[in-house]
Amino acid sequence: MKVAILQMEGTNCEEESFIAFRDSGFEPEYVHINLLKPGDLEKYNVLFIPGGFSAGDYVRAGAIFAARLKAKIWKDLKNFVDEGKIVMGVCNGFQVLIELGLLPAVDGISDEPQAALMVNDSNKFECRWTYLRRENDTIFTSKVPEVITLPVAHAEGKFVAPNKILEKIEEQKQVVFRYVKPDGSKADYPWNPNGSMNDIAAITNPQGNVLGIMPHPERAFFWYQHPDWTRKKREKGDGSLIFKSLIKYS
């Protein structure tokens, strides 16, 4: 299982991501967008877009990264997805996937964005841990229990979409994780850290091979990355279960 971890100026979660993939049994490689050419993606099974601030998140989070990918390898990307290969974007990566139209893609890949991850309701960058409830069965969550904790760290993570699109997302069971309170009940701020519609934290495309997730599973890969490990014993980090699910699937 070869994973391409995309890099660009400002992506800054690639090392944690690399370790998470490697320790889960994948073969990850860094691929810098400056060196990326059409055809390069063919040899990979997974395309991963890590978190960070690509191009400073200037204009809008993820916008420049998405525009550059589109200009360089749009056809390859569409083929990659259509072939059923796996695409995963975390945080900034999720923003890129939305901007590209690879998510939510309710009626297939769209040329214009169908949703947005906009400025948090608090108007602030928020670095905090959240509780997430697994919503639907996907290849990314087969080993994930009902409620897990993962950290968020973003200023633009509020998921918004026009009502019709939102309805379709729900209908097609595209929601993977929702923010909840510790007891699993409906979240309010700060449990929903950004004001996302329907408390959406992660979605897939209807086919289920493209995942976008705001919280960072790669930052909760080991037990000692959890903030409450001095209170609560764990064997491994909750985030590792997402990577484990994926390797099992493949």
């Binding site: 100026e9 090392e15 998140d57 960058f125 928020e126 670095c127 001095t230």
Partner: protein, 768 residues
Amino acid sequence: MKYEKISDKVYRVKMRDASDDELKKISDEMGLALNLEEMKRIKEYFSNLGRDPTDVEIHAIAQAWSEHCSYKSSKPILRKYIFGIESPHTIVVMQDDAGVVEFDENHAYVFKIESHNHPSAVEPYGGAATGVGGIIRDVLNMGAKPIALVDPLFFAPPDYPYKKLRQGIKHPRYLLKGVVSGIRDYGNRVGIPTVAGITYFDEGYVNNILVNAGCLGIVKKDKIVRSRVTKPDVLLVMVGGRTGRDGIHGVNFASKVLSEKSEEEREAVQLGNPILKEPLIHLILEANEMGIIHGMKDLGGGGLGSVVGEMCYSGGVGAEVHLDKVLLKERDMAPWEIWVSESQERMLLAIEEENLEKLKNLCDKWDVEISVIGKSIMEKNLRIYWQGRKILDLPLNFLTGGVEYNRPYKIQKIEKMQEIPPEPKYREIFLNLLSSINIASKEWIIRQYDHEVQGKTVIKPLQGEIGFETHGDAAVIKPLHDSWRGIAITTVANPQIARIDPYVGSLYTMDEAVRNLVAVGAKPHALSDCLNFGNPEKEEIMGEFVESSRGLGEAGRFLEIPFVSGNVSFYNEAFRMNIPPTVVLMAVGIIEDMRKAITTDLKKEGNPVYLVGETREEMGGSDYYRMIGVRSTYVPRVDLSETKRRSEELLKAMKSGLILSCHDVSHGGLAVTLAEMAIGGNIGAEIDLRSMGVMRDDFKLFSESPTRWVCEVQRGKEGEFEKIVNATKIGYVGGNSLRVRDGERWLFNVHLNILRSRWKNGLKDYLG
């Protein structure tokens, strides 16, 4: 005519026959910030040479002799007290841009803290951002990967009345928001976690805020790069951002008193570009891994001017530089401007010619610009060329040798006095303290910083049950994937005590550094100091500096913790008001096994709670006295042998796994410590102060006596714990409130929800 044009944008300055008044005028006109004595020395030097200097030469000298670059006022004092504390672990101490200390057999950590006060006062967002950018480069310089940032900040209170602000001074709330945004946007974008800091409010900073920034990195021992060139014919290569007019005279600016006119000093202000820095970090680390960097130094204060000279001088060679080769942001810059520009995001690499191609390839990949600007030469001279013509030729020992002053100082006598207030209403005064701005939660700031990027922050700045976190004492980083060894980081300062007695203030601050590190289970290992003071030309200010340094040196030596890097910021004065003496420490500890690390949040019902250390009636500088407006000059007495003994005891008990939570006692005293522990654990405690002996209850609760911690001990292990640690049992964990009494007398009983909401909103209410 004092200036004679000798080539395109280069002038000769007729200095040899200038009168004293003319010398002063030249200094002013050229913006040199040199005093008459210094100008005379330059005049004499060139008179002996038998020629007049070029403007480039004078600017180069002024730059090298600025307070910021030469430490001319502080060096003699630093040498006397702070330098040279022995430790078996140090590798590079007070030589290059950051200190290097052994981490384990194969690795070293690199760190430093520095001020960026004046630029931040004038433009908080850009000033703070470039402060972070600069300190990152200082660590990167040594070949290290930056893995943590800290940001001690000092402002006037957020409710300071607008009407009282002087012309040109910005409101503390505007400054605070700007500074925090600047640090956030820079640090988050480059992907380095900001894990600790200070947010301190006092009217003394109204005209002159302080913004200090520290960075820590990790490097393999055999990949440490020095800031020196040790042989001739090594290429000098600039990589990163271009050179522009921005930041010209930044170091002179930092060595000057702020005034109404400071608003106009725009050239000294920059925004910084994290998106240039981020690939630059990758590039440098990859080049270093390939082993092609001979020497390296970042272009910070003083620009090319201070870097080329210092790098070659310390390696025993000279340099030849062609200024036409420097890539510029704007055309028609004069050579002197290029030489002193402090544009951000630039590094100077010394590379052997055979490696140039490899470096160029890396630059292509990361989309970073590169230019060869000169090379090292045998002769220990600096020579600068412009359009083929030599425009500077000076021996390096003259240029970088610099000046030094033994400035006169006066040590203030301290009148002993202590007022005793009537006994307070305990519940009310306790909650007011808990929500006062210097004690209340700093969550509003901490969460805007990505304190977890890189995934190595294993003890976070906010600790406890998710969603209910409290303040921690230090953060712990686990820098290596395959080792449990951790680095604890904390920052401390106590201007409140230092303003009464700067010597004791330093001792107290050192004690607090130790307290914070020990509280997480780390052994104190090394320090970086940032000394922020007023105008050193005033004898009382110089006296504060001497006394503070004396305290630091004495404590460092006794505790065997070396200062490995540091920074002095003088001239923090505006409108004749000097800041309180502000010694800021970035302290680093080592924890052999991070799995044994300890947090501040209470863990479990039924566990006993202990107080370690002695509480005394010394209320000078306490938050309690300050809040109720009562005066005392009895500042807390620090006994360094107690600091040492008690921390060793605690560390031993922690190693044995007896301690479940621990928090040092600092601002607000025992009461605030207990409240913070309860908040994070989301569980209460019942406390009886009787075992602390006979003393008024407000002193027991709010005294800030040093060398104290509160510990939650594993139930049933009391005996074992008491055998190792000399401590007093004061109560038990449990319930949903904090209940405090002294024997039969109940002082307060406050529900967790009230504790939390008062503590959480104290500062947030001002910031929105």
